[in-house]
Amino acid sequence: MEGELHQIWVYLSTTPLLGLTLTLCAYVLGYYLYRKCRFNPLVNPVLIAVLVLVSLLIASDTPYSRYFEGAQFVHFMLGPATVALAVPLYRQFHHVRRSATAVVVALVFGSLTAVLSAVGIAWLLGASRATLLSMAPKSVTTPVAMGIAEQIGGLPSLTAVLVILSGITGAVLGTYTLNLVRVKDWRARGIAMGIAAHGIGTARAFTVNEVAGAFSSLAMGLNALATAILVPILMVLLN
């Protein structure tokens, strides 16, 4: 009997189906709890799903590469989902047009703050040069952030980790931070979320308000552009 179960496990663990199904199950569980807690930002579904899956992979001694054979199908959808952000952006464009000046000012300011605060704090606490360079683009959406890190001599894989951790931090603690500075306008809240916490922050913004979600998508896209231009310039200035 035990031998048979082991056979089934050996078979299933080598098919992509298992990784894919586990990803969806873990997310459904996370989302269920998120909804149960009336979308409390602390009960973030990404965070819950990741913790569940990492525990499972460690417990079953499964390498990430094998898990990803199945999970890649979910990961792949990030591309079309990014394209899909054009729709809410289009629907809210009248808001964007009216607040264009504020968007541009917030973008330049936010982009600089994101880079300088991260690098500055890490430098003060004695981080190595490789870490500092990998840290610079941490608030930018993953593919652009990895590209910037590579260009300036950081470690792209470390940057990917820092990006995800920043996104989760923003999605989980952003609501409280924005309440603390008493900014109530959905446009400003969305822009701040998109600049500081890219896609993961944007996902959170959409569950709260469509205006915030649209502004967050816009900020995420523009911040990728702004940071890709700013970081190499800052590198020249600082050296």
Binding site: V83, A86, L89, S166, D185
Partner: protein, 123 residues
């Protein structure tokens, strides 16, 4: 549904092609988003099926970050040696950026009737 999904993929593919051809290190999907946006501007409205499909994808945008999030696991040792500067920079840096950006944006915004004024309560 299937037409909308096809449209999204076509925009992404066009975006990837432009990124490659121009040599600009910018992700194809973001260029694809700009292409779809321009298309919607020209058309002047969002087709109902596209609205429906994008809504259902974006409702669970969070799901799509899970596989990459699990990937953090393998690189955790990279972070372990310098956990204090890294954790501080991420948490403080991200929250300071968010607060400062929202505050500056708010300063430059003209009040608008329908985009806020109700505080988002931490539920």
């Amino acid at each position: 549904m299937i037409e909308s999904l096809t449209l999204l993929l076509v925009c992404q593919l066009a975006g990837e092609a432009i990124a490659r051809a121009s040599g600009v290190p910018f992700p194809g999907p973001v260029i694809g988003m700009a292409i779809l946006f321009i298309g919607l501007m020209i058309r002047g409205s969002v087709p109902e099926p596209l609205q429906h499909t994008t809504r259902s994808i974006l409702d669970h945008l969070s799901l799509l970050f899970v596989p990459a999030g699990v990937g953090v696991m393998i690189y955790l040792p990279l972070v372990a040696d310098e956990w204090l500067p890294i954790a501080s920079a991420i948490i403080i840096g991200t929250l300071v950026t968010m607060a400062a950006t929202a505050w500056v944006m708010n300063l430059f915004l003209k009040p608008s009737g329908d985009s806020g004024e109700q505080p988002e309560k931490p539920k």
